[in-house]
Amino acid sequence: MILLARENRAEMRIDAEGTMSAEDPPAREGTESASHLRGLDDEGLLAALREMLGQQGTAPGWSVELAKGSYGLRAIDTELAALTSDSELSTARSQLRADGGPRLVVFDAGALSVEIEIEPGNRAERWQLIGQLIPAGPARIQLRRGLRAEPAWVDADERGRFAVDDLVSGPLSLICVRQGQPATATAWITIG
């Protein structure tokens, strides 16, 4: 399955760059909705503002605190491995997934790729993950779980393989530490 993910990578990169890039959003997006909003009279515009700023537009205090707290998850002195492929975001792959195959996710940094497969674990609401570093080689890998759990560590073997069991749903990012190389942090994904 990991090989399949690699074959798809070139095609997915386009999609992923559009999805995850830090660049500005495309200008055309929002144009249609802007012209609709501009066409409203004062009362209509106020009604739209009322909806936007009312209950729906007020983030609950706990979610604001969660967002503030996530600053502590900033990976310092690491290179970002961008999400370049995720079977759950790809049309073709999602159709395959209906057959129950694992979710395939690929992250790329300049000098390192991280490929992972995620499958339901042995317990309900738990997940297992197997991964492959490219180029292959040993590494210490830190699993970050957002603010839900303390980070855990796992080792990748000589062939760059690693496995994790019993993961709960939620955010996930890996930091790969290899001898003599800068640490690499993957983009965040959500599992579950």
Binding site: A34, A47, E51, Q56, L66, A67
Partner: protein, 201 residues
């Protein structure tokens, strides 16, 4: 501009030079947690309402908004145009919403835009005035208004416990003459339209 007593002279539109966001982004990228807090406070409503406009319940909105903030965190030093951060966040959040919906329900895969229309249409049928993309667009324009306009419009539209606020109450809250509210409202809405004119995002 009428010479009423409102403290707003020259404050209808925020000039680019007054925009604190680029400084916050830079400081947060350099390790300043308080700057990050300011960013969160400013944009938490935008992120949250984009999630809710996709008809997410509070629990799912919490997951997606957290992922959106983590996405900003990992890209802090790569944001090229911090003045357009609202647009970046809205777009990122929308994409994470759609990804979440794809994951969590066994949707037949469809193009994102088509899906957005479907969801927007569903939300509209659901008494909602705003589709998800409109919500994001309106937030972006609103956040580019002056702080004063944002305060006035917010005070005018956000209901109190017992219904819509009266001009008298709003005027008291903002400490301005009642007579100034109508003209201020008109100027702020006109400014908002202009900002919507400037390409939406």
């Amino acid at each position: 501009m009428p010479s009423d007593a409102s403290p707003e002279a020259g404050m209808i539109a925020a000039g680019a030079a007054d925009d604190p966001v680029p400084g916050w982004v830079q400081a947060a990228a350099a390790g300043d947690a308080q700057a990050w807090d300011r960013l969160v406070e400013r944009y938490a409503g935008l992120v949250w309402s984009v999630c809710r406009a996709h008809r997410m319940n509070a629990e799912d909105a919490a997951d997606v908004s957290q992922l959106t903030w983590l996405r900003l965190l990992e890209n802090l030093d790569q944001i090229r145009d911090p003045q357009r951060l609202a647009g970046w966040l809205a777009t990122t959040c929308r994409r994470e919403c759609l990804a979440f919906l794809r994951r969590s329900r066994s949707y037949t895969p469809v193009e994102e835009e088509h899906m957005g229309r479907l969801l927007g249409g569903a939300a509209a049928a659901d008494r909602s005035v705003l589709a998800a993309d409109q919500c994001a667009t309106l937030w972006q324009a609103f956040l580019r208004l002056s702080e004063w306009c944002q305060r006035v419009l917010r005070a005018l539209v956000v209901d109190a416990e017992d219904g819509p606020p009266s001009y008298r109450l709003v005027a008291a809250e903002l400490q301005v003459p009642v007579g100034s509210l109508g003209p201020t409202r008109a100027r702020c809405l006109s400014q908002l339209r202009k900002l919507l004119d400037n390409g939406g995002i």
